[in-house]
């Protein structure tokens, strides 16, 4: 039993080492996740010791009087009563200890909000991020400055979602009619992945979120670029795409700041090509992926609210060129 | 296995009354279920109240007249109800017949006034959550009034048939009286919730 447990843990460690740890609670990258991680291993060690002790006594008990005889043994002795009593006392102490450790960890998580505020709003099935002070609206990918506490203000537009980036912080729900907030301080540069953790309907499985932690200077540059309106495309094909975007159904749902398109139904696409992925981290933000997503979203994310738009091949090329140009 | 007679129960009565009757305990268990249900709906009421910025929201509090009258009628019915229970325990068929007929009338009266209570709530169930929860409270209690009335009517009819003269039937009358007391007692906190918590 213990061997199997060990193997599994080794297996876990191995699988973490083998691939990039992009969404794992076992690879903490912020003080908050770090303290959760320490607490986790404390619990694992204590629980394993308890379990091994129980298993050892069970094995001994089973093997001690191994017999097929059918007579009942004489009434019990004092030893087991004492042992059971001691075990109960030990349980009480262990439980009390773990409870205290858990309270201490909770306290260590409580941090004051920093200067940066991000409003994260959950939609079926994507995330909208607003930086009120910086004037940035984006979707499915948020950038954070390293070392600065960030206050995430969580709200839901439709059903309950849950914000969870395991490497950075435990999860917290986005609940219609209620406001939640959580503070994160990322200490290491990197790209982290999160995912909606509360069942939210058809595409709950594909509601990813990318978190990019970068040095403050890079973050400021990013925020400035994101706050700007979209530059008019220069290539003729992309220009044709821009016209199509306004004429076709795209502009009924999406906004591109700096153009007439300002609908708030779907994600803001002003700088969509600057993101690492599209469709809530389902496809990379490449031209081919844009085309695939525009022409047949329901095969990629069945049930998503993006309808398929009938387009001529040339129109599709133009639109995807335009999307790719929205850096 | 071989059997060895160790006890003769032949002399015991064929039916126990009160706590010796399984039906009595069953009634108690159902009262526990329904009491929990009432308590939970009251908890829902208090929970929604604690969230609301104003209570009742956007509506005048319920008018007192009908609800208070129902309360008075219910409380008044307790006395004959207890008498009926005592007559049943004594096995006095004549008085029990009178009692069940009286209780049929006494338990339909609050039901009639209850109809006016819904109008006196000043809010519809689909106006807001406050309306929903007061309608639920009142509806749930009305269901109990109604079921107990049907039960009393059936029992009243039964007491005039050849099945009346058994201790089992007198037990039924006692259990029904017990249940009516329960219906009255559960009304009191609901009455306070609906009519008086909306005024504090």
């Amino acid at each position: 039993m213990s061997a199997r447990r060990l193997v599994s843990l080794v297996l876990a460690a191995a699988s973490c080492a083998a691939c990039s740890p992009i969404q794992s609670a076992l690879d903490p990258q912020s003080p908050q996740a770090e303290s959760l991680h320490e607490l986790f291993w404390l619990f694992v060690v204590v629980c394993s010791v308890v379990w091994l002790a129980v298993m050892a006594s069970l094995t001994l008990a089973l093997l001690r009087n191994r017999s097929t005889a059918s007579e009942a043994t004489a009434a019990g002795s004092r030893t087991p009563a004492l042992a059971v009593g001691a075990a109960v006392v030990a349980t009480v102490l262990i439980v009390a200890g773990l409870t205290i450790a858990s309270f201490l960890a909770t306290r260590s998580l409580a941090t004051d909000g920093g200067g940066l505020v991000i409003k994260l709003r959950g939609y079926q099935w994507w995330w909208e991020a607003t930086y009120p002070a910086e004037g940035v609206v984006t979707a499915n990918e948020i950038h954070l400055p390293v070392g600065r506490p960030v206050r995430m203000e969580l709200s839901a537009a439709d059903v309950i979602h849950s914000f969870w980036v395991p490497q950075l912080q435990g999860k917290l729900d986005l609940i219609p009619g209620r406001d939640n907030a959580v503070t994160i301080t990322v200490t290491k540069e990197g790209v982290y992945r999160g995912q909606c953790a509360e069942f939210c309907g058809l595409q709950h499985a594909h509601m990813g979120l990318i978190v990019v932690a970068e040095p403050p200077a890079a973050f400021d540059a990013w925020a400035r670029a994101q706050a700007a309106v979209a530059a008019a495309p220069t290539e003729p094909e992309a220009q044709a795409g821009a016209a199509l975007f306004q004429a076709k159904a795209c502009s009924s749902c999406h906004a591109i700041r700096g153009t007439a398109a300002s609908a708030k139904v779907g994600p803001d696409l002003t700088h969509v090509a600057s993101r690492r992925s599209i469709a809530a981290d389902v496809l990379p933000a490449t031209r081919g992926a844009f085309a695939a997503w525009i022409v047949d979203p329901q095969t990629i994310k069945p049930g998503a609210n993006m309808p398929a738009i009938a387009l001529e091949p040339a129109e599709l090329r133009a639109l995807s060129a335009y999307m790719t140009a929205l850096k | 296995m071989k059997q060895r007679p160790a006890l003769d129960v032949g002399g015991l009565p064929l039916h126990g009354l009160g706590s010796a009757s399984p039906t009595w305990w069953g009634t108690l268990a159902f009262m526990l279920i329904e009491g929990t249900g009432f308590a939970l709906v009251i908890a829902v009421y208090l929970y929604l109240m604690s969230l609301a910025p104003a209570w009742p929201p956007e509506a005048p509090p319920p008018d007192l007249a009908a609800g208070t009258m129902v309360t008075a009628l219910l409380l008044a019915s307790v006395v004959p109800n207890l008498l009926l229970s005592r007559w049943a325990a004594a096995g006095d068929l004549r008085k029990v017949r009178f009692g069940v007929v009286l209780m049929t009338i006494l338990s339909s009266a609050p039901l009639i006034v209850r109809a006016f209570e819904f109008a006196a709530l000043n809010v519809s169930w689909d106006t807001n959550a406050y309306g929903s929860v007061v309608w639920l409270l009142l509806g749930l209690h009305t269901t109990h009034l109604l079921t107990d009335l049907v039960d009393t009517v059936v029992l009243a009819v039964l007491m005039f048939t050849r099945h009346a003269r058994t201790s089992r039937r007198f037990g039924d009358v006692q259990d029904n009286a017990l249940y009516w007391n329960f219906v009255v007692v559960t009304w009191l906190p609901i009455y306070v919730c609906i009519y008086w918590l909306a005024r504090v």
């Binding site: 297996l11 699988s15 083998a18 609670a25 129980v54 298993m55 069970l58 089973l62 017999s67 097929t68 009942a72 043994t73 019990g76 087991p80 009563a81 059971v84 349980t91 409870t99 858990s102 439709d158 309950i160 395991p166 435990g170 999860k171 917290l172 609940i175 009619g177 209620r178 953790a197 | 296995m1 071989k2 007679p5 160790a6 006890l7 129960v9 032949g10 015991l12 009565p13 064929l14 039916h15 010796a20 009757s21 399984p22 305990w25 268990a29 159902f30 526990l32 279920i33 929990t36 249900g37 939970l40 169930w125 689909d126 807001n128 959550a129 309608w135 639920l136 059936v154 099945h163 201790s167």
Partner: protein
């Protein structure tokens, strides 16, 4: 007037045994024919039907589990689309909780409690029949809806707003909510019967400290049902009202609250776990004592721990809501109470081990399942301590870690003991033994298969895999373990398959069992296997906690019950002193008709609120028919 004197009724003790048996059979045997089968009120027949039906639902739920494992074996699985997958996992969960786990535990109680306490039928036998039919109707509602692509797709927990009027399109969520009404109605009915049976129908002399532990467990469970189930009925009714007539219980824009639903759901949902687990503890205690060949160690601490768990279980509900942002004070309270429940659970495990330590274990299949239970459940209990901690839970909540945790608790803690219990009581129910050899194989396959399937899920959860996802992207590092889990589940399925094979084979060709094949100490073994329709010829008189070990040859009995009507003994609550000879209701078609009327009303109310009004009339008629005296000897006293 109460007929004690007056007419001389025939008494059992005055007759020769054969004649007594003939007369008892004539009044207690169930009626024949289709109508007779629908009128049965014998707790053994209803219990058997209940158990068999629950196992059918287990098998059906297992098929859904297999579909889930095939879908998740590879990244972006293409077997099921998101719509079907959501229905599959919802129906799997709802089916296992509401149609298998709770009913099967109550069914074991329905079958065993009257036998273990030495009475002839359960209290309110017609209510028992009604309960079974309502349960079948609820199960049929869920499964027919699912097969018609109509199945609920909102999770077994049905959180609003996803299940609410705006996002729960069509009638799928209503099916879920109404299925709950059906099963809870059935469960509440059984709980009332068991409470009253244990309180009032125990054999003379069975004082509180002589009640078998399984009966204690069922008693505590029944109280949990009585107090917990109204919460879910209110939650599901409020949901239906929101969806059907436009109330606003859960609409934040009109003063409602979405978390209110979660509070109500988990006020039921957490005790629910113990409703499933406590009977299993009772089964383990009973089997352990038989196969350790000594009375169970620590009777009093075990009873106290059952009661403590029952009470504490109501202080835990919010630990399912740690990620909703509850106030800190509340979280601390719920953390402390959730962890505290580890203490009584620990007491139970320690007493079990001490029993084995003092006894001479006999290696028959039930003991194998008990061992599997201790090993597996302890892991589930310890991961339970982990999820009770708010900070830890914020990482593992709604991930595969929790999926692993509750399968360890529910399968390890309840299904393993249940399978052992089937091996243990199968001889009593059918008169035939199940196979020791196959039993050992079943235990080994299920134990190994279960742990290989579910242990890696802890790791998957920590690696960030959320629950209830129909697919995952190949870039995420979960492919290997998921494939491993899916392959390992084949072993688990093989174990269950072999179990069903053994049940069917033994029912047809098993070796005859005899009255007491395990040399067990409790009263159900004092009668024949299977027991006659009247359970006991003479009502046993109890003088100790393990009556059959005191004297395995002769049974002290109470005599003097009539043989011309269904009669049983009512005793006092505390000391079980005889109080009355009570009649027990005979077979009747009315409970079935009442169940049909109720079914029509409840299903109709999914579509129109007026169904409640018009549907109540036939129910009232059926209930009057049910309770109206027919002049049978049982009706008069």
């Amino acid at each position: 007037m109460n007929g004690t004197e007056g007419v001389r009724h025939p008494r059992g003790r005055d007759l020769p045994p054969e004649e007594r048996e003939r007369r008892l059979r004539r009044i207690w045997d169930p009626p024949r024919g289709i109508l007779g089968a629908l009128s049965v009120v014998d707790h053994k027949i209803i219990g058997r039907r209940y158990i068999a039906t629950a196992f059918v639902f287990l098998a059906l739920g297992g098929v859904l589990a297999a579909l889930i494992r095939i879908q998740l074996a590879t990244p972006e699985g293409r077997l099921l689309g998101p719509d079907v997958y959501n229905q599959v996992f919802t129906v799997h969960g709802a089916n296992m909780m509401f149609l298998f786990a709770v009913p099967v535990m109550e069914a074991m109680g329905v079958y065993l409690v009257p036998l273990m306490i030495g009475t002839r039928n359960i209290a309110f036998p017609r209510l028992n029949a009604f309960s079974y039919w309502i349960y079948v109707a609820g199960g049929a509602l869920l499964w027919i809806a699912f097969l018609l692509d109509f199945g609920p797709d909102v999770g077994w927990f049905g959180y609003v707003p996803l299940s609410g009027p705006q996002y729960g399109y069509g009638k799928r969520a209503d099916i879920w909510a109404q299925m709950i009404t059906f099963t809870e109605l059935a469960a509440l009915a059984v709980a009332v019967e068991i409470v009253v049976t244990v309180f009032k129908q125990r054999a003379p002399g069975m004082t509180l400290d002589r009640i078998p532990l399984f009966v204690w467990a069922m008693l505590v469970t029944s109280f949990l049902v009585i107090v917990a189930m109204p919460a879910i009925m209110i939650a599901s009714s409020a949901l239906i009202l929101d969806r059907l007539v436009g109330t606003h219980f859960f609409n934040p824009a009109e003063g409602g609250d979405v978390l209110l639903f979660q509070h109500l759901f988990w006020f039921f949902g957490h005790p629910e776990v113990y409703i499933i687990f406590l009977p299993a503890v009772g089964m383990v205690s009973t089997m352990l004592s038989t196969f350790a060949r000594r009375p169970v160690f620590g009777y009093l601490p075990l009873v106290m721990s059952l009661i403590t768990i029952g009470v504490l279980s109501f202080g835990l509900w919010a630990h399912h809501m740690f990620t909703t942002g509850l106030p800190r004070v509340g979280e601390s309270f719920f953390t402390a109470s959730s962890m505290a429940i580890a203490v009584p659970a620990g007491v139970q495990i320690f007493c079990f081990i001490a029993t084995l330590w003092l006894g001479r274990p006999v290696w028959r299949p039930p003991l194998l399942f008990v061992a599997a239970f201790v090993v597996t459940f302890t892991i589930g209990g310890l991961t339970g301590v982990m999820v009770a901690s708010v900070p830890l839970d914020s990482q593992v909540h709604d991930t595969y870690f929790v999926v692993a945790h509750f399968h360890y608790v529910l399968v390890g803690g309840a299904v393993f003991p249940l399978m052992g219990a089937i091996y243990y009581w199968f001889p009593k129910m059918t008169g035939r033994m199940m196979s020791d050899r196959l039993g050992a194989w079943v235990a080994a396959l299920v134990f190994v298969g279960f742990n290989l399937t579910f242990f890696p899920m802890h790791v998957l959860g920590l690696q960030g895999m959320p629950r209830r996802i129909y697919a995952y992207q190949p870039e995420l590092p979960w492919g290997g373990l998921n494939l491993f889990v899916s392959l390992a589940s084949i072993i688990l399925f093989a174990g269950f398959l072999l179990f069903f094979v053994d049940v069917v084979r033994s029912a047809v060709r098993g070796a005859p069992a005899g009255d007491n094949p395990w040399n067990a100490p409790t009263l159900e073994w004092a009668t024949t296997s299977p027991p006659p329709s009247y359970n006991f010829d003479g009502i046993p008189v109890v003088t100790s906690a393990n009556p059959l070990w005191d004297d395995p040859e002769t049974l002290p009995v109470a005599t003097g019950l009539r043989v011309d009507r269904r009669e049983l003994l009512v005793t006092s609550v505390q000391r079980a002193e005889p109080e009355a000879r009570e009649s027990s209701a005979g077979a009747s078609i009315w409970p079935f008709l009442a169940a049909v009327a109720t079914t029509v009303m409840l299903i109709g109310s999914i579509f129109s609120p007026w169904a409640v009004v018009w549907g109540s009339l036939p129910i009232a008629v059926a209930l009057v028919g049910w309770f109206w005296p027919k002049g049978a000897p049982e009706d008069e006293a």
